[in-house]
Each structure stands twice: as structure tokens, then as C-alpha cells.
Symmetry: C2
Subunit: 322 residues, 2 copies
């Protein structure tokens, strides 16, 4: 199998790559990691092929797409970035997605593609819990662009140009690495930075509820979405994934229980109205019934998410507070 991962230099792309290389059941010949910059921090492996370029440039993806069997489309300008630069967001998130689908259509081989969408497609007047058939009325350009991507993936699939599947991902917590321009980046920072002795700013209040999924479960979900037979998707190629609902206060309390007060004292509470508005526009709860029936799972609790982060990113060791 030849794999293409757009946004392959990002942390999910890299974790997915490592999972694919480890998985003996799936004979991977090659994994092309397409991104604006080369992927770093991966173990050397002859099957990894970096490819750099701008996904929205005509022809940029053609080589990488020409013989790919399985494509994970993760590349995106993230939420606060797309809100700050309207044109860039449309160029990458809409035009880039269409260019990818056109490149895959041009192969005539009907490759299978998993598109990373998100709960940011929702916004406005929301019910207590999002049902699987609730309409997206996004209140960010990022959410709009993801909703458009879902529609494109579904239509290209219906026409038989690709075999596409879109996952609406909850907010991913705890992201490793550095903060990014996602409005939700604080949700990882307030855990990750204090654990390594750094301060983190929390721009929302303790009672802000968010709907989250761990990197482990996201990678599992991306793999499951790829492996399910086409018949499992029926006439709806877009799937809201299960997550758990936690408040920021719950997360910090859990961190304090595990790592101590000296660690959580590194969180500085600095309200930011722009971030608060974006985060408040996203749903905090979803039923995700169909996804659960299809075998997708959540983390169960934030304790599990925190433990997985400490295991995967800190070698299982909770650093002593300095």
C-alpha cells in the first residue's frame, strides 16, 4: 500500500505514520508526507518519503497523488489562523482540498481518502448534545471551510472519483509540541507546559466545557475510518466522532491531583474575548451514536487522557515540581 498524508509534518501525521510503520497487518510500501515543511522527529525509515509544497498550488500534489492508495488529508490552516487571514484559509482549506480531490480523481483509480474535519463545523444555536443529523451552521471561517470540505469529499465519493470518509474530530487534547494558531491550543498548553516547568496562559474560564479526544484515540479513529468497508458509510460520508465533555476546571483539577499544586500554579488565567467567542461557538457535547455503532470510542475520562500523555510524551514520568 502506498500512503499519502497531507499535513504529514504535523503531530497527528507523524503519530499516524509511526502507527502505520509499526502495524504488521498493513503492508506499507511507502508513506509520502506532504507538508509545507519537511516532517521532523520521525525515526529513519526508507519507506518515509517527504514532499514539500503548497497544497493549493495547481499540480503540487499530482506526483504524490498519482499512485497513492490510501490518503489521509490532514493539512489545514487552523481555526484562529483562518479567522485572522480569510483568504489564506479559503486557499488552503477549500482550494487545497479541491485540488487534492481533483488530483485523486485524475488518477482514475478511485483511491480511498480520510478527511480530518471537526466539530468546528457546528456553531450558533446548539442543542445540549449534538445529534448525528444536526445541521452545521459554523461561526468561524475554519468551520465553514471544513464543512465545505466534507461536502466535496461526499460528492466526489458519490460520483465514484474517490472513496472518501470525513471524520468530525473533537478538540485534540493533549497535543504534544508547541502551541499553534488553533483557538483550542490552550486546552493542551495548560496541561503540557506546566508539566515541563513552563507557564501557560488559559484564555477561557474554569467553567468552559469542551469536547475532547486524545491523540491516541484520534490516530485509532483515522485508522478505523480508513479500514471500514465502503458499505459501512451508506449515503453519509461524514461522521461525528465520540469524545468526552470536560470543563477546563476539571482538567486542571485532574492535573493537580496527579502532578501537584506547584504544577497547576504555572497556569496564568488571562481571559481573551476572541478565543472565548470562538471556543464558546463550538459544541461541548455530542451523541455520536453512529460512530459508536461503527466501533469508534472515546477516552472514557480525562484521567486516561492525562495518563496517556505522560506515558507517550514524558516517558511515563511526572516531573517533580521545581
Amino acid at each position: 500500500m502506498r500512503v499519502l498524508i497531507t499535513g504529514g509534518g504535523g503531530f497527528i501525521g507523524r503519530k499516524l505514520t509511526q502507527a502505520l510503520l509499526r502495524d504488521d497487518r498493513m503492508p506499507v510500501e511507502r508513506i509520502t508526507l506532504f507538508d509545507v515543511v519537511p516532517a521532523e522527529g520521525l525515526p529513519p525509515d526508507p519507506r518515509i518519503e517527504p514532499a514539500t509544497g503548497d497544497i493549493a498550488d495547481r499540480g503540487a500534489l499530482d506526483d504524490a497523488a498519482a499512485d497513492a492508495d490510501l490518503i489521509w488529508h490532514l493539512a489545514a490552516v487552523v481555526s484562529a489562523g483562518a479567522e485572522a487571514d480569510f483568504d489564506l484559509g479559503y486557499r488552503v482549506n477549500v482550494d487545497g482540498t479541491r485540488r487534492l480531490l481533483e488530483a485523486l480523481r485524475a488518477t482514475g483509480r478511485r483511491p480511498r481518502v480520510v478527511f480530518a474535519s471537526g466539530f468546528a463545523v457546528f456553531g450558533g444555536d446548539l442543542p445540549d448534545a449534538i445529534t448525528d443529523d444536526f445541521h452545521p451552521t459554523p461561526q468561524t471561517s475554519y468551520g465553514t471551510q471544513k464543512a465545505i470540505g466534507e461536502l466535496l469529499v461526499a460528492d466526489y465519493s458519490r460520483k465514484g472519483y474517490v472513496d472518501g470518509r470525513s471524520l468530525r474530530l473533537p478538540t485534540i487534547v493533549v497535543r504534544p509540541g508547541k502551541p499553534n494558531r488553533a483557538a483550542s491550543t490552550f486546552a493542551s498548553s495548560i496541561i503540557r507546559e506546566p508539566l515541563t516547568g513552563q507557564e501557560a496562559i488559559c484564555p477561557v474560564g474554569r467553567d468552559t466545557a469542551i469536547y475532547i479526544l486524545s491523540p491516541r484515540r484520534v490516530v485509532d479513529g483515522l485508522l478505523r475510518a480508513m479500514s471500514l468497508p465502503e458499505a459501512a458509510w451508506g449515503m453519509n460520508r461524514t461522521l461525528p466522532l465520540p469524545g468526552i465533555t470536560v470543563t477546563v476546571g476539571d482538567m486542571v483539577d485532574t492535573l493537580e491531583r496527579v502532578a501537584g499544586r506547584a504544577v497547576t500554579d504555572r497556569i496564568r488565567w488571562q481571559p481573551d474575548p476572541v478565543i472565548q467567542r470562538i471556543v464558546a461557538s463550538w459544541p461541548a457535547r455530542a451523541e455520536a451514536r453512529r460512530a459508536r455503532e461503527m466501533g469508534f470510542t472515546d477516552d472514557g475520562s480525562f484521567d486516561t487522557i492525562l495518563a496517556a500523555h505522560i506515558e507517550d510524551e514524558l516517558g511515563g514520568i511526572v516531573p517533580a515540581a521545581q
Copy 2:
């Protein structure tokens, strides 16, 4: 007020133009009718300005958009057309809509725009009646493109580039003129053609239920959507309109009651699986609660729709069967 109507050469564009010119409450300085061909059949009026061009061409709309205050965006490749020519549908229905919104954004004047979307955004697994918050999972490229248009109109509005409103229109019956490439064109043909002594083909069965609205009510709806204050739309710029649910058999029975058996004998029943599949993918019923609260109305019965057609298009006279 300076008005721009894209697709202004179509029958809705022309009816809307006539309504605007008649309406003394709205001081119209100019109505630019943008279309691929010049509008025909309008009474001469110095305020009408034809403009021809391809909406998807860069710059084609710039002049027409430069000083427009009110824009009705009706231009589209219709359903069967967009299904038959995938690239053309995306070019006109998606790229054209984006070009229009970009041209309006470039004015810096935040003009008000009403976008004609439709119930074709729905498809797949549908409830008995579509609720206002039911998700669009279109099963045609046309429906996909309209759903993308709605998302664009909403996001450009949220960003303050335009003041946009999208109406999900039921199938418009009885359309005057000739059949077009809409999969729903038969729903008008089976009434219109027999009334003027011509045969019409019905590609679907008598028990096919459709959700319809008359040209009169559509024009009323387009005017109402433009006149409502921005605050009426809240965080959702997309509105499913009320219609009535009728079966094709009901429509033909009504026609027979009004015009006689010799007229309905001109209908030839020739099943067409492609048309049947497209029509069956659309919802036959919707609640449209929010639109009713906002003052939008349906026709009440097919009798009313038929009577309006005879009055508006046949001078009120039911032709004797030849």
C-alpha cells in the same frame, strides 16, 4: 436602489424584475440583469440594464457589482445539468458564487444579497418532514454546490463582507416557458404543455410526492428575504421555505378537474430511472417553522397554484381541448 440579479434572464429573474419595477415603495434606480444571454420578454424600461457574461470568469461581475445595493443571486447550472457535467456545475455554482461574493466584498460597502438555494441540499436518509435544523447530506452535485453556496454566503456575512440571506426553495411549479435541465422540470411540463395543446412526458410515477411552491410565492419570498432586517437572521443565514406536499397524481387530477380529460391525456408516462433517482433523493415535506414565523407562506393548495398559472401565463383562460 441599484439592483443586480444574476441569472436575471431566467423566468424568476424576469418576474422579480417586473415586481420590482411595479413596486412604488422601493425606489429602484437600475436593475442589472446579469446572465449568459440577454433577458427577453421584459417590457421596455430605462431602468433595466442587461449584462452578459460568465459568472465564473474573473472580473466578469466586477462592474455590475461595483455599486449594487441589493443583489439576488439566482444564476446556476440546474440539477440534471450539474449532474451531467461535473466540472461545469462546480465552475458556475461554486466558483461563480465565490466570485460574486468576492466582487461584493471588494466594494467595501457590505451590500445585501439573497441567494437562491434549494431543498436539493437534502438527500440520503430523510425523516418524514425536514426540520429546520436537519443536516444537508446532498445526493446530487447540484445540491452539494448549493450547500457550499449557503456556507459561503453565511461566512462572508459573518465576516461583515456582505449582508447575505440564503433561501432553500421548494421545487418551483408551474414554471412558464420551456423545459430546462432541472430534474424537476417535468413537474411544470405535465401541467404547462397539456394546457397549450402539447404532449408532455412524465418520467416519475403518480405516487411521487414533491414539495412545491408557485412562482408567485417564490418572488414574494425573494422580496421578503431582502426586506427583512439583518437582526431577523441571527446566527443562521439559511432558511428552508414553506411549500406544499403534493403527489404527481394529485396534480394531474387537479388539472383534469379544471381542464378536462382531453388535456391530461396529453401526458405520456415514461419512467426515467435517472430522474426518478434524483427526485426521490429530495425531501417531500418540511416543517419550515422559522420561515413561517418570519412571514413566509406557501400556496395552500395545488388548486391555487394552477389557478395562478392560468391567470399569469394564459390570461386567465383555460384553453378548450382541441
